[in-house]
């Protein structure tokens, strides 16, 4: 940490301060320094860039750039800011992609949403947004959404024209005798989900992959600014509904930090409990997705059977099975009744009864090992360079887990360890998913016991303790909050204005974005059969890919 500060002191900075336990927050005065600072930080071990988040301050006529650098090994992080002019022509900054490969798509996103131009970026095309948003800046505060929506037919025509142009373009440049072609793997492909991979292939061999994303872009980051702080949770949880609890936890922690509210012990344990239930529901689907990609649907069905019990618990707790909206600034939304824990016990028993079967048939499956143990290998170096996180990073042997690195809620009292594999192949990612399922079950048991003991001893009052009051209006401030989401680290960067009733800017860094960036790297030179395997093993959800 000291070392980081020393490096930053060499430059012209506005302030350098400690932030939380693992962060150094600094603002550099001169935006042209950014590339040099970043390179110095990289040499010092901060090799990963979590995300790049511009904030549009229209009153001060500036765009504030936020860079989040992380060191996955020693857990030191740096939050770097700098201002750039807001006028479209001067809104430029040096690109970090030449040094940080993981910055690539994040810079493209900032370019499409805010019109920030990155100098020296190798491939600065718009991403996520459809063609009718090209050369516009949808996330800037002065963007007129109503005017854009007014002529829907024209917008659709733009998209259609662009698609036809591309169709014509595809077969050009390919010789008469060549067997090369462009396959559209998605968005209506049986295994793709709403994502389109433009697969350049020669017969069965893949030459390269260009993912086209944004088919489920809901502009969530813009949507939350139209809602109040409580209403925003329903937008945040739609990051991906498979694991909706943990994304809400990330958001409400940022709100609580700005409001300076400390939640009760009971609410903290409830967040652990609900979060792990949600993680199970996501991981169970993830394992199913991996095998679905190999043409075997049994795992998905068996896991769905287990998952039902946990969804039953979520339903009796919050009234909804999938989109629960159960975490609120100030705690958790509902109190806990005793019969709910009994229902949870049914799920735990179900898992314990089934897990040996699943392990024997599907985790140790020889055909799966034959397919997957040599495919899609991600080395620890690649994890750091491409900013990978979560299950994908851990299966490559990188010990990273926000629950342990920067404990939130009651995770500091939970007994747990990193679940890691060695080789980082597709098989390892499946095995890791299963072992994390077991770990989550273990954490649930701990949390359940703790809550039961607390209630029995009168320490917790389950019907009153779940909420503390959070003021409706928040002061000016900003906060970041990290949570270990089921797919990896989610970083929420929340900015509020004076007497705010709704967020001014919320940046959600979601893991699938980085993982999808890897596809071309992993699949070039492989065969068509490996596309679903590797795509399935990366545990990608289009919800948090597009946001």
């Amino acid at each position: 940490m000291l070392k980081i500060k020393e490096i930053l002191q060499e430059f012209n900075t506005e302030y350098i301060e400690d932030y939380k336990t693992t962060w150094v927050k600094a603002k550099i005065k001169d935006a042209t320094d950014i590339a040099v600072v970043a390179q110095r930080l990289k040499k010092n071990g901060l090799r990963t860039i979590a995300t790049i988040s511009p904030t549009d301050f229209i009153d001060e006529n500036k765009i504030e750039m936020n860079y989040f650098f992380e060191d996955l090994i020693t857990k030191r992080n740096c939050w770097l800011k700098c201002d750039i002019p807001r006028e479209l022509e001067q809104c430029k900054i040096e690109s970090l992609t030449p040094f940080f490969k993981g910055a690539n798509w994040h810079e493209r996103e900032a370019f499409s949403m805010f019109g920030v131009k990155f100098i020296n970026h190798p491939d600065l095309r718009p991403i996520i947004v459809s063609q009718d948003f090209y050369d516009k800046t949808p996330f800037r505060k002065d963007f007129d959404w109503d005017a854009h929506e007014a002529d829907t037919l024209k917008n659709i025509q733009t998209i259609v024209d662009a698609f036809k142009d591309e169709e014509d373009e595809n077969d050009k440049g390919i010789g008469e005798d060549s067997s090369e072609t462009v396959l559209n793997w998605g968005p209506t492909h049986p295994a793709s989900g709403p994502i389109r991979l433009k697969v350049h292939c020669d017969g069965e061999d893949v030459i390269g992959i260009d993912p086209d994303i944004g088919f489920v872009w809901r502009a969530l980051e813009h949507l939350v600014t139209k809602k109040d702080f409580i209403g925003a949770i329903v937008a945040v949880e739609r990051l991906c509904f498979m694991d909706n609890i943990n994304s809400m936890v990330g958001y409400v922690q940022a709100v609580e930090e700005i409001a300076d509210v400390e939640i009760t012990e009971f609410a903290k344990w409830m967040r652990v409990l609900l979060g792990e239930v949600s993680r199970i529901s996501s991981h169970a689907m993830g394992m199913g997705g991996f095998y679905n990609a190999l043409g075997l649907h049994t795992v998905a069905m068996w896991n769905m059977d287990i998952r039902e019990f946990f969804l039953d618990f979520l339903e009796s707790y919050s009234g909804a099975r999938i989109a629960t909206a159960a975490i609120e600034p100030g705690g958790v939304r509902y109190g806990l009744q005793e019969n709910m824990l009994k229902e949870l016990q049914l799920g735990l028993d179900k898992f314990d009864n089934t897990k040996e079967d699943i392990k024997a048939i599907f985790i140790n499956n020889p055909t799966m090992k034959m397919r997957a143990s040599k495919q899609g290998i991600i080395s620890p170096d690649m994890v750091e360079d491409y900013s990978l996180c979560g299950v994908v990073a851990r299966s490559s042997g990188v010990k990273v887990d926000v629950r342990i690195d920067e404990p939130y809620a009651a995770y500091d009292q939970v007994k747990m360890d990193y679940v890691v594999q060695k080789d980082g192949s597709a098989k390892d990612r499946l095995v890791n998913l299963f072992e994390e399922l077991e770990q989550s079950i273990d954490i649930i048991k701990q949390a359940k016991k703790h809550i039961e003991v607390g209630i029995a001893s009168g320490k917790f009052n389950p019907t009153k303790d779940h909420m503390v009051k959070v003021p409706k209006k928040l002061p000016k401030g900003e906060a970041i909050s990290r949570v270990e989401w089921s797919r990896g680290e989610v970083l929420m960067h929340l900015v509020t204005q004076e007497k705010a009733t709704s967020p001014y800017r919320l940046k959600m860094k979601a893991p699938s974005f980085n993982h999808t960036m890897m596809l071309d790297k992993l699949l070039a030179g492989q065969t068509l059969s490996d596309i679903p395997l590797i795509f399935g093993s990366l545990y990608i959800c289009q919800g948090d890919l597009d946001r």
Partner: protein
């Protein structure tokens, strides 16, 4: 009169339709049990009308012919495929008395008719003017070439053992001893059968997650129904072939009859489904490697074993 009955009812059109509908339903129900699901349950007892309704739906739906294909090739292929798939039923001895075409060379006819089928499926893929269909067609062809060698070699092992190409006399001569001797041949036949019928782990030609639906992709309505009928008729020919060649056909425990043949075919179907529920798909390269480095040498070895058994175990060359 008998001929007309054979063509229209048993073992002809009606029987095959009934088989297709019933087996489809059975596959769904059996798979559902393995998946811990319920499967079709609303229409009829245990959802048994469901496939019947599906059939009527497919027959009444529009058959879409895509732009830029040869419509004749596109539409004639499903008819041809279904016809060729149905013909083998004529040479199989269903019971002691029912064999439509009695021939000295019925085994040869069976094997050849089963062997033609993938060519037709390749042509359906080729004629669809779709990248996925084309890839599927090529995959069918590749898989067929590598699987049929083993299939033929193992299918001919009973012929070697009994010294006849007539299915009727193979069934007549079969006994418990011959079943034991033919067991390795049966296993090889079963593995090759999985490859031939595009079943997991060899469902490479219609790998949904890779190339959508392979050669089926552009087909809909009646044409799709005909292709499915061809697939299920081929199931029947191959299952019945297995039961006849290795498991003693219609021979039963206390009495002989069609029900025993049916039971044997059902057992093979169940084995196939169980493998389907527990095995992911392998890749093209792995399939080629498996077929040429293991399956084909093993089936040659099996032929040697049959000859050895014939000479030294059951009394020499007659």
């Amino acid at each position: 009169m008998e001929m007309i009955f054979n063509i229209v009812v048993f073992p002809g059109i009606l029987y095959i339709l009934l088989w297709t509908v019933a087996l489809f339903w059975f596959f769904r129900k059996f798979m559902a049990a393995l998946h811990k699901r319920v499967g079709p349950s609303f229409n009829g007892p245990a959802g048994s009308y469901q496939t019947l309704f599906d059939l009527s739906k497919l027959l009444t739906k529009e058959s879409i012919t895509p732009d830029g294909v040869n419509p004749y090739l596109f539409s004639i292929m499903p008819i041809l495929a279904a016809t060729i798939a149905i013909v083998p039923t004529a040479v199989i001895p269903w019971t002691e008395y029912v064999t439509v075409v009695k021939s000295e060379y019925s085994l040869l006819a069976l094997v050849v008719l089963i062997g033609i089928e993938p060519f037709l499926l390749f042509l359906t893929g080729f004629g669809s003017n779709n990248k996925y269909s084309f890839l599927g067609g090529i995959r069918v062809l590749t898989q067929m070439i590598s699987m049929e060698t083993a299939f033929f070699l193992s299918a001919l092992s009973p012929a070697l053992l009994f010294g006849t190409l007539s299915l009727t006399s193979i069934v007549e001569q079969s006994s418990f001893v011959s079943f034991i001797i033919l067991l390795p041949g049966f296993m090889l036949y079963f593995i090759a059968l999985l490859g031939l019928l595009d079943q997991p782990p060899f469902n490479i030609p219609d790998a949904e997650q890779e190339i959508v639906y392979g050669f089926y992709t552009e087909y809909s309505g009646t044409n799709y129904f005909l292709l499915k009928l061809a697939e299920f008729a081929e199931f029947m020919a191959v299952f019945a072939g297995a039961a006849t060649l290795f498991l003693g056909g219609y021979k039963g425990l206390l009495f002989d009859g069609y029900s025993f043949l049916f039971l044997k075919m059902l057992l093979i179907a169940m084995l196939m489904m169980a493998i389907r529920a527990a095995t992911p798909r392998i890749t093209m390269k792995q399939m080629l490697n498996f077929s040429w480095s293991y399956l084909v040498p093993l089936s040659l070895l099996n032929a040697a074993w049959i000859m050895f058994a014939k000479i030294f175990l059951i009394g020499g060359v007659s």
